[in-house]
Symmetry: C2
Subunit: 331 residues, 2 copies
């Protein structure tokens, strides 16, 4: 149907991928152990005459975000946003030029910034994430996502979602799963793009949050919620099962993470009665993405890797299990 | 089709009600201003060619629970549970017989209990709601709901859901709304019955919560979440818009409450751009339920009533707008 022109040659792989997608699930996954494990689990819980049958309303699937659904190197993308935001705001904060940690952000002194520790980090997050209404924050994040580019891949951050994981989300939803994000990232940051990029609506995004303050009459004369510089909930580590309990109120039957911050979420999921599917995304691909685990500053995977090996959870090997990493990677 | 037997006579009204339900929405609502306002609003936001059209994913409807979806007199039903639970637990807490506020619960001295104020109330809630796993708590609440009866109506509390509100929830869902509870009540208490009674799944129930602590190895050798005696979030008053923002992440287009604790939720809903529907349930029916507003200890409706009158929000008059209150009320 298509004549071979330059344009056709460029789009042909995408058209081919779309055609495969409608024919069989998970086209960006190699036909190996990982893909088979996923498809077999879904088949197992879907057979109504089986003891392992799970009713659709109980088909809750939870996913970490950074390093699981999209990349997280060399720094968490939300932190890249925070640094850019501090630079933007510095024009109205001249005092930042001589105050740590802001001066380190402005001068690009990453080592000094890291040395400022959690206190410095929280100051950067507070300065970049609070003192504005929730609606203004959404607008600011949306503008940043539309313009900022990843330093290595030189494309918008939202194009660094993992194509195989997007297919997994779609596949699960086609099998009546309800998909949730359960991330240490800020809930309001993720909600700006989660529906468009992942097909996950705001009410199915669980993350860390700051206190918000209601004012009946905001600056525009209407009610507003102001983001306060005070952490409300850290959805990481043992906070993840608590977050799942608070927001979802059911135990997931499927969970995927990639770091030690996901360990308790995976344990909580695995510990339920009946069939459970628990997996780790293991970053093993220096060429197409990154390779890191036990010694990484970002997305450290050590205890959870030991536990996955002990419990025989699925360990997804990005280099060998995934035909492509991002939507526009060649095969 | 039915011959008139005693049994047929008894069930005939129910069959008739079901038949009407499939034919037209809101059969337990009188054909008056309130019903018309609801139906007209839904029609208005559903017309795709209209400037007021709202896409299905934005059709978020929020409902208070106590006094809005089910009754709340003479005391909040969750507080009745707490009192019964203290009585049950008193056999292993002999010291409670001489310690306020527990001795007042055990002797039924409501006046002394009220005099113990918020501190006493929180002690009763902590003693009855913490120190157990989330799963054990669900079981305990389920057993209580199956056996406890309302002092006046002498039936299970779950039968005191308002039939017209159940029809409203169904009607909205049939028009692609996603229905949420946003209540000052405990989120885990409500989730035990919300799906069965209201058709609202656990992940769409927002409420007050206590801190939960994750333990990787619980008493049964499996991971558990322990309910701690520490309040995490109060989903009442200005907490309601914050809770909506945190859990849903979209602003509702429809909200119904019944007391001053709902005022900010209604303001937040009304303050959004585009068409909004905001209503109060006004308890006006001493014969079939209760009549109370500005001076009530439970479900006080004063400031929100003033605001509703000022803003011309719909005020649902239970006595005149509802043909029946509960499922088995006659017309």
């Amino acid at each position: 149907m298509h004549h071979a022109s330059t344009r056709t040659l460029l789009v042909a792989p995408l058209i081919a991928a779309a055609a495969v997608a409608s024919a069989e699930p998970l086209p960006s996954w190699e036909d190996g152990v990982s893909k088979r494990a996923i498809v077999e689990f879904v088949a197992r819980i879907s057979r109504e005459d089986s003891a392992d049958y799970v009713a659709p309303r109980e088909r809750i699937a939870v996913f970490d975000n950074d390093g699981t659904l999209w990349a997280e190197q060399p720094i968490y993308f939300q932190f890249a946003f925070a640094l850019d935001r501090v630079k933007t705001l510095s024009s109205v904060h001249p005092e930042w030029r001589s105050t740590a940690p802001f001066k380190d952000v402005l001068s690009g002194d990453t080592r000094a910034l890291v040395a400022s520790g959690q206190k410095g980090l929280l100051q950067v997050i507070a300065a970049s994430h609070s003192g504005i209404t929730t609606e203004d924050f959404d607008t600011i994040v949306g503008s940043w996502l539309a313009t900022a580019k990843h330093p290595r891949f030189e494309r918008p951050y939202t194009e660094l979602a993992y194509q195989p994981m997007l297919e997994l989300l779609d596949y699960l939803r086609s099998q009546d799963f309800k998909t949730f994000i359960v991330s240490g990232g800020g809930v309001e940051f993720m909600r700006v793009f989660a529906e468009q990029v992942y097909g996950i609506p705001p009410e199915q995004v669980i993350g860390s949050s700051a206190v918000t303050k209601f004012v009946a009459v905001g600056t525009n004369g209407k009610p507003a919620l102001i983001k306060e510089p005070q952490i409300d909930f850290i959805d990481d580590g043992p906070g993840k099962p608590s977050g799942i309990d608070r927001f979802i109120g059911r135990r997931p039957i499927l969970a995927v993470g990639n770091s030690d911050g996901d360990l308790q979420m995976l344990q909580w999921t695995a510990g339920g009665a009946g069939p459970r599917f628990v997996a780790l995304v293991h970053h093993t691909d220096t060429d197409r993405e990154y390779a890191y685990d036990r010694d990484s500053q970002v997305g450290k995977l050590d205890k959870a890797l030991d536990e996955a090996q002990r419990q025989r959870w699925l360990i997804i090997d990005m280099k060998h299990d995934w035909r492509r990493i991002f939507a526009d990677n060649g095969e």
